[in-house]
Subunit: 258 residues, 4 copies
């Protein structure tokens, strides 16, 4: 395997499809969102992407079966007559080298184009101190789609902001190849999987694409993530109290010496 | 040399061969096991693998002769009429870059396939705190072979477990190319060559492949490895006692000051 | 995208053109100088350079639009009948790997050659403790152009001096491909954008190429940069005074103990 | 420039030539030795090697002229009728990546082979604590040449010893391509240019190749290197005495407190 390849397992004819991409990244926002949509809509896998730029290990599943790291394309046939069919792309990992990042992003755009995609939407996280509901930032290589995103309560991504990794590169390369692309980034602290940010992103996405998907299924994941954060906060608090106490004792000893 | 090459020195016709791979890795488990089998069965070298992804030095042998780092394929003709012939692959090193890892693993699978291999078995280590006898974990890209391994007292590799390096990648790529592959990993602490883990792996392997090989020859290596570990334990113990003593004296001095 | 590409958006016929290059580097000297000339002369973009060796992120502009990192070629038609037309090259970033640096520099030289360039001038910074006016160092692959630079108050670059990155590699590769090239480096401390060094470089450049450009527009940038440096100096001074005070108090306590 | 290239500037017909290689490396032993021979014999440059795997900077010479990092091949016509002509290869740098090391070494071997070389000798350093005269270690891909080296007072390189970098890889690749190669390594501490080690290496080399070269010209370099080492030793000594004094004073203060 000398370069990134895509293997189409099922030939599907899609109607004016839109590709939604979410690989692992900041707060796993894009991946959680994409996987949720795939599950909720019952989208089916139809193509696999392998790359020598992924990490050099394989994964074992519950049956003891082994597979290479990979990305998977899913498709969903829109029951509405005039609606867009959807493709999804998610996977185990991003490429590990600079050149690999460009190669994988190029392959994804080429594949989407070959399938007649009218739009690629990349999903990801935006590092921020969040307060209540995570905001969603939008950037695009096309003014109309950006406009639609802003109407769907997304905020324009700040000027000069770098969008790192595949979610960004796909936009840049898509412009280069004449494909419309839109990026939605949900605010996240980023150091833990953050389904709350994913939910915000999906709320915007569903409005933009006029999708009717019940997002309440994410609430259980959100509660679980918050419990983990609360537990970590408590541990941190205890540690700090302990350090303060130690410090105080130390000081008393020192002043006693002098 | 721009890419990995295999040089076949002797043309051999093998009968339904199985390839057994063991390169240096965790606890050197795979390499020790593979080299033991090669020696015990009297397998003969027939092909060499060179790669610009191996480390950039050469090795000097006892005669002052120099050679590139490389991998070596060996063959063994099974005296039983209905038995599988065997190929072995071992060598000096794994590839040093991500892309190199994928390239070398691909070349090994391609070569095995071109020789008509019905199965590739990769051997390696599994990091664990071992108690008595090291367990053997199995993973496969084929259910039948996994079943055979489990019957031969191997345990199914835990779900989600990554198998790092060539032992894992070969499995993933073999699946990709339609070749059956099985991975056997022996429990090891991993920081020193661990012939005990290799023996466990070979016990499973011999049962699976119905090979009749005397493994008692590994016992001398095991004893030697244990003596090294015992010596290191003693050094560590002394060091700790010394540190404790120092610490106590320090404390006495400190309390004297205050 | 497997390698560096240049996309010509507008076909221009240039008369005996000279290419002036200034990418980000030490003190941003080359980039500030090149961008100033482009703006002042009203040069127009006509070709874009993309590379998989640039960092793997995209940039968002004020309109929320996204683009790949890139380099941009500009052209300027010299109104004088016998004057050289000019091309400029600047951009977001240098290549991130060794091989990428060579590839990008080669592409720039090839493109300049294909446009009939009689000279390439690369601009950059030269790390030094500057006193009054930053000096300009010159190096070339052609004795005549070096001579012209020295007459224009540049100093010969010290022997053995390495010129790192694209500003240097272009010179080396241009020589290799039979294109004249000249490098002008302005003295800079290098840790902050340094428009003062850029101005020195441009003064030399304008004399060498007999260009009539008003450089006073850089003075506002220079003042701003100096204010930042002054502010940083004050912060540093305060910090040092504070440390001295702490140290003195510490010493008094210690002597009190003894 | 996408890969390593060799540019032949002068076509020379050489009689049964031997290539002697010495690039920068441990103690600069190989480079100092090779450059000395080139100068002493009056060998002339005839081919240049450029590589995108060399560091990405250019060098400025005394005249302010710039050039890419490179390697240079020299030739020397042996005045003896039955003697071997010589080629030399030295340069600015070794390749900076694993794959680059293999590529550059391959190109050198290919070029030597195309010139009809009957032998390649690589020169380098061998890290050791030297006492009197640095010993010379030899390794080869050919028993006859090794034998000749051992007769010329070289010692067989220890078994298992890795020879790192181009001096080693050339031997390995030469064997692969059917060219005889010999490596001579002079003992050196390695942290400073070490002409004494180079002299030892040249003494062996001249005996092996039956060359009559006056090596006394290296003695001035050796004295200079020794003066530098002596000066560094004195600085180190002073620093240690100072530290001891400080430590003593500190202890007195501490005991005074308690």
């Amino acid at each position: 395997m000398k370069q990134t390849v895509i293997r189409e397992r099922i030939r599907v004819e899609l109607k004016n499809p839109i590709l939604i991409e979410g690989l692992p990244g900041l707060g796993m926002v894009g991946r959680i969102a994409t996987k949720y949509l795939i599950k909720k809509l019952g989208a089916k896998p139809f193509a696999l992407l392998y790359s020598p730029h992924f990490p050099y290990y394989v994964l074992v599943n519950r049956k003891g079966r082994v597979r290479l790291l990979r990305g998977v394309f899913y498709y969903w046939i829109n029951p509405k007559n005039d609606g867009n069919d959807l493709m999804f792309f998610t996977g185990d990992s991003q490429a590990q080298t600079i050149e690999g990042q460009y190669e994988v992003a190029s392959k994804i755009v080429d594949f989407a184009k070959s399938k007649g995609a009218s739009l690629i939407v990349t999903l990801g996280g935006f590092r921020a101190e969040i307060e209540d509901v995570p905001k969603v930032y939008a950037a695009s290589n096309n003014d109309e789609w950006l406009e639609k995103a802003l109407k769907a309560s997304a905020i324009k991504s700040p000027s000069g902001n770098p969008i790192v990794g595949v979610a960004g590169l796909i936009l840049g390369i898509a412009r280069f190849k004449g494909v419309n692309a839109l990026c939605l980034l949900g605010e996240t602290k980023g150091y833990l999987p953050d389904p709350r940010a994913s939910k915000s992103v999906l709320e915007s996405l569903c409005k933009i694409l006029d999708l009717n998907v019940d997002l309440s299924g994410l609430d259980a994941q959100i509660r679980k993530a918050e419990q983990i954060i609360e537990k970590m906060r408590q541990i941190e608090e205890k540690r700090e109290m302990y350090l303060k106490k130690m410090h105080k004792e130390e000081k008393e000893r020192t002043s006693y010496i002098s």
